[in-house]
């Protein structure tokens, strides 16, 4: 584990965070407490079903907590209305999924523009920024390719460029190398770290992979919906 970066203040704070499914029969997140600092690289590890992805969804405001508080960049996510949640997802977080989740009918360049459309970025700015993002992930020459003709690693890199489109404060990645071979996975991780350093983002990665976790400033182990001490 690298040296912890704790000198920039708390960005994310969770207290007694609870998220249950199936009428409370599945306790995905169960009274979780957590603090994450600005610009920190945190890896969240744990067995399948321990609540890692649910925690990531709560931080991304994709899901709402049932109880407890979750504050990110000074905003209480539990009290966001729909419009504010849209704005939070658009402006504050970038998401990289295990499966790339690119839109099949759009080219790589167009996929990168999708979040910018939500942010009402001007067409001129989109035309300037999207190729730059693709270049930053080494895929400018594949700008006009549809996802169906890209390799798994290339798709994840396009998804990473898309996640960075609106210059988020936090980049959330759910098993980003889970569907990649070892070499593509390493390349994506190098890229993630480089881009994080350049843009001073906070990076939260959910992973099973020890190699991924070892690169983080801090590793959090989850079990039964809680962070293990």
């Amino acid at each position: 584990m690298n040296e912890s970066n704790t000198g920039n203040g708390v960005l994310l704070s969770a207290r007694g965070l609870v998220k249950h499914f199936e009428n409370g029969n599945v306790r995905a997140v169960d009274g979780l407490d957590l603090d994450i600092m600005r610009q920190e690289f945190v890896a969240i590890c744990g067995p399948s079903g321990c609540g890692k992805s649910t925690l990531l969804n709560l931080i991304a405001a994709i899901d709402r907590p049932d109880r407890g508080t979750l504050t990110v960049a000074g905003r209480s996510l539990a009290s966001l209305d729909r419009r504010d949640a849209d704005a939070y997802r658009r402006d504050t977080v970038g998401l990289v999924f295990q499966l790339h989740n690119l839109l099949a009918s759009l080219t790589a360049l167009e996929n990168v523009q999708v979040p910018m459309m939500a942010a009402a970025t001007s067409a001129a700015a989109r035309c300037e920024r999207a190729p730059a993002l693709l270049e930053s992930v080494g895929l400018l020459d594949r700008a006009d390719a549809l996802p169906s003709v890209l390799s798994g690693g290339e798709r994840q890199r396009v998804a990473l460029a898309r996640a960075l489109a609106n210059e988020p404060e936090i980049l959330l990645a759910d098993e980003p190398t889970g569907a990649l071979d070892s070499e593509s996975g390493q390349r994506l991780l190098n890229l993630l770290e480089d881009l994080r350093r350049q843009s001073h983002m906070t990076l939260i990665v959910v992973t099973h992979d020890e190699k991924v976790a070892r690169r983080a400033d801090r590793i959090l182990h989850m079990l039964d919906g809680r962070i293990e001490a």
Partner: protein
């Protein structure tokens, strides 16, 4: 590799979503287009019929047509010729009247054709300018054919033609540019009255007014002083003697409404399927910050695109269908579709409206997709 640096737009996304399912998009377009075809074909035919009525009334520069009042169909009008003629000529403002008898009879092998009876002396000189060949009839056994009737009967000047079994000699062929007139045979009045069993009776009078006469005042006077008579000036008031046009126009609205409902259901089905298939994609859009209204706009735009495509296809097919219908042997004597901008505008509005209406429920469903559930959706 040359890179396409065009900005992505909502319109572009909607288009791609339709193009990637070409068969479904095509079938939906056809489904909606069928309604448009009906609207264009029926509306243009009615417009043509209205035009024919106007032209028929204006033939030989007449100002009015006077019929028997309270008839439901113009052909049922029956006026005693001599007293009506005298009454009309005695009306202030009336310059000249021409009696016409309209009758539908079997001609040669045609089960029915329209014939117009005119007095030999009233086969107006204006008609001379419309003669394509031959001359105006000068005796009771002579007739002249409109160009469409000539084509339908395959007769020419000098030939004999059997009208309800009685022989007449064709002495002329005319073209008035009005399908209902050009599809008819002009027969001497006395013979047609005998053939139709309407001796001394006619269907209507063409009325020519004196220069400067007030048309409305003349009509009011005729109808007030002669309650058995009614006068019309065009398709706008033709329902006084024949409600057929108004009924047909009403049918267009009924057909439009049916098309609206069927088309909306087709679009709703298509868009609902599309939204279900794209649940995960919509979840991704929501997850990267797209608002619910942006999702609704995208789905409605896709439906509007379908509507425009259906309107274009439907208008083109509607024109072809109306023209084909007017070429059918019997119909060609009566039908002449007119394609005005109103017809196409109506078709576009209906196609767009039903497409957007049909997309509303699927669009709202898409907007309410929970990103968390959608991302779990396989």
């Amino acid at each position: 590799m040359k890179r396409n640096n065009m900005p992505l737009t909502l319109f572009g996304m909607a288009t791609r979503n339709l193009v990637r399912r070409p068969m479904r998009t095509s079938l939906t377009t056809i489904g909606v287009g069928v309604g448009v075809v009906a609207i264009v074909a029926l509306s243009s035919t009615i417009q043509g019929a209205r035009g024919s009525v106007d032209s028929t009334i204006r033939v030989n520069n007449a100002d009015l047509l006077v019929f028997e009042s309270n008839v439901s169909v113009d052909l049922f009008s029956s006026l005693a010729e001599t007293p009506t003629r005298q009454a009309l000529l005695a009306t202030p403002g009336v310059l000249r009247v021409v009696a016409t008898l309209w009758h539908v009879v079997p001609v040669e092998d045609k089960p029915y054709m329209l014939t117009f009876g005119l007095r030999l002396g009233e086969m107006d000189s204006a008609r001379r300018d419309m003669m394509v060949s031959g001359r105006i009839p000068e005796s009771e056994d002579e007739v002249m054919l409109g160009v469409i009737a000539q084509r339908a009967l395959n007769k020419d000047v000098g030939d004999n033609v059997a009208i309800r079994g009685e022989p007449f000699r064709v002495v002329g062929v005319f073209r008035q540019g009005v399908v209902i007139l050009d599809g008819a045979i002009v027969v001497p009045m006395r013979r047609l009255q005998a053939l139709s069993g309407k001796v001394d009776h006619v269907t209507a009078f063409q009325v020519h007014l004196k220069p400067g006469a007030d048309t409305d005042a003349v009509i009011a006077r005729i109808e007030r002083e002669h309650p058995g008579l009614t006068a019309v000036t065009g398709s706008g008031d033709y329902s006084k003697v024949d409600e057929g046009l108004d009924i047909a126009a009403g049918m267009i609205w009924v057909v439009s409404l049916i098309a609206l409902i069927v088309g909306a259901v087709i679009v709703a089905n298509t868009m609902w399927m599309s939204v279900l298939e794209r649940t995960r994609e919509i979840g991704v859009l929501r997850a990267v910050g797209w608002s619910r209204s942006a999702i609704v706009r995208m789905i409605v735009l896709e439906a509007a695109w379908l509507g425009v495509a259906a309107a274009i296809v439907g208008c083109a097919c509607g024109v072809l269908l109306a023209k084909a219908a007017a070429r059918v042997s019997v119909a060609e004597q009566f039908l002449s579709p007119r394609f005005g901008p109103r017809t196409f505008l109506l078709a576009f509005i209906v196609a767009l409206l039903l497409s957007v209406l049909g997309a509303l429920a699927p669009a709202l469903r898409a907007a309410n997709v929970s990103p968390a559930e959608a991302l779990r959706y396989e």
